[in-house]
Amino acid sequence: MSDFIIQRRRKARIHVVLQLLLLLWIVWVVNVWSFHQSIRIDWSQGSRMEVTASDRELLEALPRMVEVLVPLDIDPSASGRVRLRVLSQALRWLDELSQAAPGALRLPVSVDVNRDGDRWEVLRSQRGLEADAVNRIHLFCGERRLSLDVDDLALIRGTSPLEPEQLPVVEVDRVRESIEAALRQIVQDQLTEIRISQGSGELPLEGSRGVSLQAFCDDLEARGAHVTGVDLTLDGVIETDTDLLLVIGGGIGRFEPLGASVRRAIDRHLDNGGGVLVLLPSTGICGLEDTMAAAGISVLPGLVAEITALPGAVTRPSYAAVGTRLDPFHPVTASLARDRIMVRYMPSRALQVSEPATALLATGPGAWLEREPGNPRRQREETPGPQILAAAAEVGAGRLVVVGNWSTVLPGSWRLDARRFLLACCDWACGRDLLPAGAGREPVSNRIELDDRIRRSFFWTSSAVLPGCALLGGLLMAWARRKDS
């Protein structure tokens, strides 16, 4: 019997140790397995974080590993916070994708440039990014780089002079769509070749950003294009691999209209299926009037004028043309037409459009065409009504887009809807999607108005009614227990 007790004790001790080790091992194995093989479901309204089958297909089809870097420069202002939220959402979505396919997409790396300045410097030089490439999603695949701006990820309706109290709010959420497009884009081997005409008084491509097209070119390159300048006045030859030729009718000093040989080269380029985007000079001709006329687009003399609203409920006529009307069917504007768009051109030429061209962008009815130089004044003889600011046409195998303003590409103006519109034009004109400017959906927002009534009723319910019920319950319980005892 004594043996029995000793035996039992010994057995019990050994068993406990063995059982504990076994259980620890099981816990370890199960957790490691679930770490690698997890199932994730998005139950929230809208399920924006759900990785669908098509997302997985896209990830599996990526031929090479894609890496992501997001430098954040946190801006505490209202619009900065909204932008940061959009970036955070994009980071989370990339995180989800990375979890679904860790071999195809590496975990996104984000760095706070203010807090981790050193690390940002190291990463920046490693990747060859500019110092102001912050608050963007940079995707890297091999040698290729693609950058997504917040404006690509979401349409944010910000403050306007008419409504300074309004907080910026996300109107269209494009995070998933733009990341998908970027992933598709970055793994393609061929870059879009964009050539910008030089030698006629245009701004140079490089240089200090105030007086060059550097910002514009960087943006295009960030979107997966290769941008070079071509001096058409020298060669008169446009390389055959050019997808898009940009003619910017303005710069330092006066723009020299393009000569006939250049025009012929451009015509050949169009015949070969290339694209041309012409940004008209504010005065004078650009030299391509014949080509444009053959496509149904003619430039009217004068500048578009409108009554402009200024802060302080003052209005006065100015040369600021605001394009608000878009063609709902044309590929350039179809997806933009859903949104309330306001493309500001200061100033803009007006176009006359006939078959086979299509008017893309027009002003509201209050605009007119001011033919006399000097301050604009509304006069009856001047052409009233919506003025056409941009038009597009298919010429032969190629595509032509004409826009009435060239100063959009200046660093100070290259933003908001004007940028979006011009990028959409570029996309269509070169025949390859750089990034679709449309798509996306309204963010699911369940915001309720917190008026006084709701505030009060919530306050009283949460601080008095519910705890009061608990108090009552306790008293009832105490009374029930005292009964019969």
Binding site: M1, S2, I5, R481, S485
Partner: protein
Amino acid sequence: MIEVESLSMSFGTRRALEAISFQVPAGSVTGFLGPNGAGKTTTLRVLTTWLLPDPGTVTLVVDGVDLLRQPQQACRRIGSVPELAPMPSELRVVEYLQFRARLKGISHSKISTELQRVLEEVDASEVLRRRIGTLSQGYRQRVSLADALIGNPPVLLLDEPTRGLDPRQVTHFRQLVDRLRGDHTILLSSHVLGEVEQICDRICMISEGRVCLEEDRGAWTERLATAGSIRLEVAGVVESIEKELATIAGVREVMADGSGWLIRSDTDVRQQIGTMARQKGWTLLELRRDPATLESLFLQLTVSGVAS
């Protein structure tokens, strides 16, 4: 019935029970006596399977079930009432007993009849819906006993069951034990010797972890009879009366006791003392026999050691 052989129990370095052995015959009421700290409660706790005894323990059998090898089966055969049984004061008696019945495996449909039965048995039906915290000590003991009786276990272990009870409650308890005798085997531990004398068929005396005495009623009654003393008081002063008394055959010890003497002897020597008194011309004031009590036996044994 309960069979214990060579039960040892230590707590760390302290040896609480030193190879004790005893038996509790089926249907009897056995009193487990000892001073505080002797090991009574420890023994009972081993029998309820709460404590595991030391190696070297030979036998622990309760109602035919080996406690060491089949503790869970043994548990079901035992109903125990610990000292000052801790019961949750916020529950009602019915709620607590229902819970205990469910734990002991009474099927749901039979619970209310079982509760009625046990409460009637202990005569506490009137407190069914009272909160345990409001019960007097007497009722608490009864409820505790009712709990032990749930499931009708053949063996009952009661630890100091009359602690804190007033004389009427004690009488009541005694009557209850009488009723239970025969159907149940009862081991009750106490240091209140008067009660044990009245209730128990058998006693087992334990001191400092060792059994000093284990006897049936008949045997100890006889032992008490012989362990008694004779008290003698004579008028006046008689010199060397102790020496003279010591010469009587069978006298073991003569002790002064206030105004007289206590004489311990193997047999009843009053006649011899009377004869001597007449011979010596002593005036007898008192000559009486004090039978021993369990208490004196207890004091004797637990101070001096194991009884012969």
